[in-house]
Symmetry: C2
């Protein structure tokens, strides 16, 4: 875990997930060199939070085979942070041998989705948080342990999700020792009013623990949901460059909320991101060249920011 | 003016502008029969507010040549309302010969845009509101008089717009007798925080006068801006089916905020629209066939509403 503060409370932290969530459904994967170039270009634009993959068997998930290279690369960039999914004990052990800044344990708001998604019960996933918290002490890197609660705003399998259940899961994660808790609209069901109300409750219940909102823009409400989360006090948001990343449960739909549109929204909402949008859009152009078969999304890349007005905060 | 209430205070009124704002930039125009079929299909889906054109010289604006047919058609539909732009005295006189429900006088928040857009000063435009209010008494139809303040959230010519100036313009319109006042993000510059703050002030200052927020989705914040407006107490929103309608000042950018996405947002935010989204998407498919050269936008048409959860209010 870095000495400096990974999630400062007084501004927005935007996390770029294209090399993890973005690569879950692509037909091809970039080379390690291209991935590192992408990270460098984004870093040069001001991006500091990178989710670089998932510790999974290389045979089934070749897109994450070079995860150690990426973690190592990010660890050499001043004030940059790497996060990665660690979905079982083996993954935790592997992660602890690297200078990863944050291990992410995924679970779900509903038992059905948890079993379908990570082949384990919610209780068992909470147990995995405990294991990670215990084990990290043995690592010289001592990474943060985060939890991500999937389908917090509606489940593709069991339908409506009771906000009380999400709050209860969040408190269980906190009690197990999670340093940070994400509520995720995994399947793009959320509306902004719902995001505002649930985020407000979770932020209030978790006190000092940073709350992340992870959004997919399947139904056009992604940026509205992000705004609602910010209004509710959420200060960490996830996105992918070009909205890369489909969702297996919503074929044909767009994926994660566009990172560059989140940058624009943040600046337009009074938060200084320290991200240079022009440079970020160059990185997006590069992403398009290294994943030529994939459609990218997002509005600001097409329209460009409104030059005649003051839209940037700093 | 209809006896029944065109803008009830206790719910959201969504106005569909594809046959006016949507036709400003299209390469071809639908036939009158196709326009009437579109209106009927939308009405069957539950749409009640139609902007049907602008009273302009037919020679220069052939797309609005059949405006009287459309007004007449809408006037025969129970609890449906037609609105149309009347940008000069001649247009007002013409409109007063029809059963139009609402005349709309456009002006701008900035003098520069007002001159460029309607070739008249803001003061002169406010005078036109007074003229319309006076003249309508001579009409057996006695339509409402509305004003629409363009570039309320930033001007493509003069840049940042002082919210105080917009508020002042709104109060001048009210003082001149406008029954309803729209603040418009004509060039797609607005961010949600800005929309919330300005809307809140205008709603509060205008008291009983309905406030409309008119949005373009040029930079991906359209639905977020609509949500922010609703949160600020705005109860009338404009959109076009399929987001039809480019903006001459933002080439390549998308046009109006998508009407069908506004329906989804409203329902997801707890407002009953009485609009059947399936039927509305059929009307959208029809629109695509009658304007084959135009690109349509909007997310919900692609992804469909999230069936497993309760997303509808009624």
């Amino acid at each position: 875990m870095r000495e400096d503060n990974m999630y400062p409370r007084d501004t927005i932290s935007l996390r770029e997930l294209s090399l993890r969530d973005g690569l879950q459904m692509t037909k091809t994967f970039p080379s390690t060199e291209d991935k590192l170039n992408l990270i460098q270009m984004e870093y040069d634009a001001g991006v500091t939070h990178f989710e670089v993959g998932s510790f999974l068997p290389v045979k089934s998930f070749p897109q994450f085979a070079d995860i150690r290279n990426l973690i190592s690369y990010v660890s050499d960039l001043p004030k940059a942070y790497s996060t990665a999914l660690t979905l079982n004990e083996r993954a935790i052990d592997d992660a602890l041998d690297t200078p990863l800044d944050e291990m992410v344990i995924a679970l779900s708001a509903t038992e059905e989705h948890c079993q379908a998604n990570i082949k384990r019960s919610r209780e068992s996933a909470v147990g995995l948080i405990r294991t990670a918290v215990k084990k990290r002490k043995s690592s010289i890197y001592n990474p943060m342990v985060a939890s991500a609660i999937s389908v917090s705003f509606g489940c593709s399998i069991s339908g409506d999700v009771d906000p009380d259940d999400v709050l209860d899961m969040a408190l269980q994660c906190a009690e197990a020792g999670a340093d940070q808790i994400a509520i995720a609209d995994t399947v793009g069901f959320a509306g902004p009013k719902q995001v505002y109300e649930l985020s407000k409750r979770v932020v209030s219940a978790l006190g000092d623990i940073p709350v992340v909102v992870h959004l997919h823009d399947t139904r056009g409400t992604g940026i509205a949901n992000a705004y609602a989360a910010m209004e509710a006090g959420v200060r960490v948001l996830d996105g992918t460059l070009g909205g890369l990343g489909g969702c297996p449960f919503a074929p044909g739909a767009t994926g994660n909320v566009s990172f560059e549109d989140l940058v624009y929204l943040s600046e337009r909402s009074g938060f200084c991101t320290n991200i240079n949008l022009d440079k970020l859009l160059e990185a997006r152009n590069f992403l398009a060249t290294i994943l030529p078969g994939e459609q990218l999304f997002g509005a600001i890349a097409k329209a460009k920011p409104p030059a005649p007005i003051k839209w940037q905060t700093a």
